[in-house]
């Protein structure tokens, strides 16, 4: 029951965002140059930004892009972590050591600087959508090591379980054992990892965007919109500039509540 309320709120937010983007007469990139930093009006419910773009449409699009990108990146990073952890667990000890050493090296790298470096290597002409995809792919590629350590630990325990030895004695191949028995057993471990990654990636994208290295203009993103908060003149001009950060906090709190719930159940 507890899980259903935040879930319903999130679903409602996503539906509202999708409807706003779909139904609005304004494209997220359209500049209404006669309505710069407009207050809330019948045309622009949440006013407009500094170049006259509809704030409601942009916030809605940023929510959809952020959630979709972060969810996809979390799924990829969890899959990589599962693959890496399992590979190490079922390899000879020397190979497991090497694989975990590689994972530790990744873990010890300053990931924010790596993200910045990887993002800045993109060609200058990369389209806004390409920058969005690359940003989340880079997040996925750098987010797996901590998770893979946890998977490795869990898989090693399960590898030595009695039912595993029984399965091997019955002639099941390692691949079959992993697919049919081990992965379902690891689900309580992988699901929280996945759920933790989603808000973490949303925050990481916002950080990159605030540094000017996230999703390219004119595609809306949390990070680019949070940049407005750095300007006291804008803050004094309209209260609607707080909408992106308010929505971000709500989304993060909902996602955090999922994680907490799953951790308690696990």
């Amino acid at each position: 029951m507890k899980k259903r309320i935040p879930g319903a709120i999130l679903l409602l937010l996503i539906l509202a965002a999708a409807l706003t983007v779909w139904m609005s007469r304004f494209d997220y990139a359209f500049q209404d140059r006669e309505a710069i930093m407009a207050p809330s009006t019948a045309q622009h419910w949440a006013g407009t930004d500094e170049v006259g773009r509809d704030r409601m449409v942009r916030v809605a699009a940023a929510l959809l892009i952020g959630l979709t990108g972060a969810t996809a990146a979390a799924a990829i990073t969890t899959a990589i972590a599962a693959l890496f952890g399992l590979l190490a667990a079922f390899s000879p000890p020397w190979m497991a050591k090497i694989l975990m050493f590689v994972s530790d090296v990744f873990l010890s790298l300053p990931w924010l600087f790596l993200l910045m470096m990887a993002r800045s290597l993109l060609p200058l002409t990369a389209s806004p959508m390409e920058t969005a995809v690359t940003t989340f792919l880079v997040l996925a590629a750098l987010g797996w090591p901590a998770c893979s350590r946890a998977v490795y630990g869990g898989a090693v325990q399960l590898r030595n379980a009695g039912w595993m030895i029984h399965g091997q004695a019955c002639g099941l191949k390692t691949r079959q054992l992993i697919r049919i028995h081990l992965l379902p057993q690891l689900r309580p471990l992988l699901l929280p990892q996945f759920l933790i990654c989603v808000p973490a990636f949303i925050v990481a994208e916002a950080n990159l965007g605030a540094l000017g290295l996230g999703v390219g203009e004119p595609l809306p993103s949390w990070g680019a919109m949070l940049l407005e908060l750095d300007n006291s003149a804008l803050l004094a001009g309209s209260h609607w500039v707080f909408l992106p950060i308010a929505l971000l906090v709500v989304v993060l709190l909902i996602l955090e509540s999922f994680t907490t719930e799953v951790e308690i159940n696990a």
Binding site: A29, Q31, R33, I36, E50, V51, G52, S120, L124, T125, A126, S127, P128, G143, A146, C147, Q193, I196, C197, P199, A200, V203, N207, G212, G216, E217, P218, D230, N231, S232, A233, L234, A236, G237, L252, E256, T259
Partner: protein
């Protein structure tokens, strides 16, 4: 990751607390002291080696000079020199010093000190950037016929030679002190790296007010090293700072609301904001793309498609003037009032592109070989007006079918791409013009110069019009007749308007915020802006 998320919130909270704490911090003001912010630490206090804005400010406030450019009338005024005379041939200048001049430590200032200071600036070992303005600095000689006379001999005439002496501070001979012993209004008394530079009044400053009051009025100046506009504005509004030179348009509007009597918009500055395409043969660009940028029709069409009035209104909140040439209308002597330039017209832009071999298919523009027209515009991070202009231009060019991506880079990364790697397609940046005389822009217009941005360091001019600009700029730099100089500069302005190597966007207005407690401030658009007559500025406690 979970802990990283929490850490992010903790970090954000800590940052907010730090910011609030920092906002409450400013070195305590001493009685009668003026205070404002400089954005970086001065690289040097040696007035002969100045090559950055912060050091230049310190030199201006501490260095006594023979001649000073009046920033309001833009004419030369004698300072340490009582009078000066330039020979008819322009190869000799005589300075007559004032009687009884003293350095801040009480020692006498004579022609020996002046000659020593000039020779030091001219010496190659000093590596002074001012020396290059004499064209052949090693051949310049300085004589001292008597204690009050200095004679400078030039190998050939230099246009506007008097202005150079505005940048040469006179120091005690053989005792360079890095601003501790000066002949200007203030001396350097304290410096804490990353925090502040404190200057105090020179007790032996030569100048007095008509009422015989000793100048400077202020007991000192505190220059806080602060590269945070938000903080600077908060401190100004709290009365901790006396002025802000060049607040952003957003902040200017806010300051106008909160402190209406403190803000001043002095109209168009001498500075320009422009966009240009990379035409360098050394650039790592595909040949077809370089061919677009070399195509005059392409550049003119881009210029015609840009709504400059929107740039001024939206990106600068109305505090900018649409620009069509490299000399601002604020530069009344050199601006060409008869200039003809491509006017804003989407229809003309489309016709120009068709005539240049481009064609539309749906919302996309293609060149004659079928390549879609896509390029990126680089600009620097941390300049909201430029980023807004880039977003507006992106939409203006989308109307022509051009796909533009905007890339913001921090300044060092941007300069690396522009100057070293030549790895960019188009760039949106501004140019600060400290001086109205076009001779100061030589390094930008000569095709052999590394600062000839669209095609740097050309061995020979790549086009006939660039060769003509070279010839005309050399002519204006060497012609003794103002009429000939003006004709040459007007022609350069017309060539640039026709060829659009730089597509000029706006002239940002000169914006200033001055505390109502300051008296004696005289508005000026030339650097150092409101403090150009710092010795006559005083702070009246209690006046608001």
């Amino acid at each position: 990751m979970h802990s990283q998320l929490r850490a992010s919130f903790v970090f954000a909270g800590a940052m907010a607390l730090t910011t609030i704490f920092a906002l409450c911090q400013a070195a305590p003001r001493q009685p009668g002291e003026l205070a404002w912010a400089i954005h970086y630490d001065p690289k040097t206090f040696d007035p002969a080696k100045v090559d950055d804005e912060a050091s230049e400010m310190v030199r201006y406030l501490t260095g006594g000079v023979l001649l000073r450019i009046n920033r309001q009338t833009q004419t030369l005024e004698p300072q340490l020199a009582e009078s000066f005379h330039i020979s008819l041939q322009g190869t000799s200048i005589d300075f007559k010093l004032r009687d009884g001049l003293r350095f801040s430590d009480g020692t006498a200032l004579t022609s020996v000190d002046v000659a020593w200071s000039l020779r030091r600036v001219l010496a190659p070992a000093t590596q002074s950037i001012v020396a290059a303005e004499f064209l052949s600095p090693t051949q310049v000689t300085v004589d001292t016929p008597d204690n009050l006379t200095v004679r400078v001999h030039l190998p050939k005439p230099v246009i506007g030679v008097g202005n150079i002496f505005d940048e040469i501070a006179i120091e005690p001979a053989n005792r360079p002190s890095e601003g501790r012993v000066t002949s200007g209004p203030f001396i350097v008394t304290d410096y804490k790296r990353g925090q502040y530079v404190r200057l105090s009044r020179n007790p032996n400053y030569w100048r007095r007010e008509a009422s015989r009051d000793k100048l400077p009025y202020a007991t000192g100046v505190r220059l806080d090293v602060l590269n945070n506009r938000e903080q600077e504005i908060a401190l100004f509004l709290r009365g901790e700072y006396d002025l802000i030179d060049g607040p952003s348009a957003d902040h200017f509007a806010m300051l106008s609301q909160k402190s209406p009597h403190s803000t001043r918009d002095l109209g168009a500055s001498l500075n320009t904001e422009q966009i240009w395409f990379n035409q360098s043969s050394a650039a790592a660009l595909p040949e077809f793309e370089r061919a677009w940028f070399l195509n005059r029709g392409f550049r003119v069409a881009v210029s015609e498609a840009i709504h400059r009035a929107d740039l001024a209104r939206i990106a600068y909140d109305g505090h900018a003037t649409p620009a069509f040439g490299f000399i601002s209308p604020a530069n009344k002597v050199w601006h060409d009032n008869e200039l003809t330039y491509p006017h804003e017209s989407a229809a003309d832009a489309n016709r120009m592109l068709s005539a240049s071999g481009f064609h539309r298919s749906g919302n996309q523009l293609y060149d004659s070989a079928g390549h879609p027209v896509k390029f990126s515009i680089l600009t620097n991070a941390g300049n909201p007006s430029r980023q807004k202009m880039a977003a507006l231009i992106q939409q203006d060019l989308a109307a022509l079918g051009m796909q533009v991506t905007i890339v913001t880079l921090d300044f060092p990364a941007l300069i690396e791409r522009l100057m070293k790697k030549q790895d960019y397609e188009a760039c949106l940046l501004g140019l600060s013009n400290a001086e109205p005389d076009p001779s100061s822009m030589m390094n930008m217009w000569l095709s052999s110069s590394p600062n000839h941005q669209w095609n740097p360091s050309e061995k020979t001019p790549a086009t006939e019009w660039e060769a003509e600009i070279d010839r005309l700029m050399q002519l204006q730099a060497s012609s003794p007749l103002q009429r000939d100089r003006k004709a040459a500069v007007d022609r350069v302005q017309q060539i640039v308007a026709d060829q659009q190597p730089f597509i000029y966007l706006v002239y940002p207005n000169v914006l200033q915020a001055i505390s109502p407690q300051l008296r004696g401030v005289q508005a000026a658009i030339l650097s150092p802006g409101p403090v150009w007559n710092v010795e006559s500025i005083r702070r009246e406690e209690g006046a608001r």
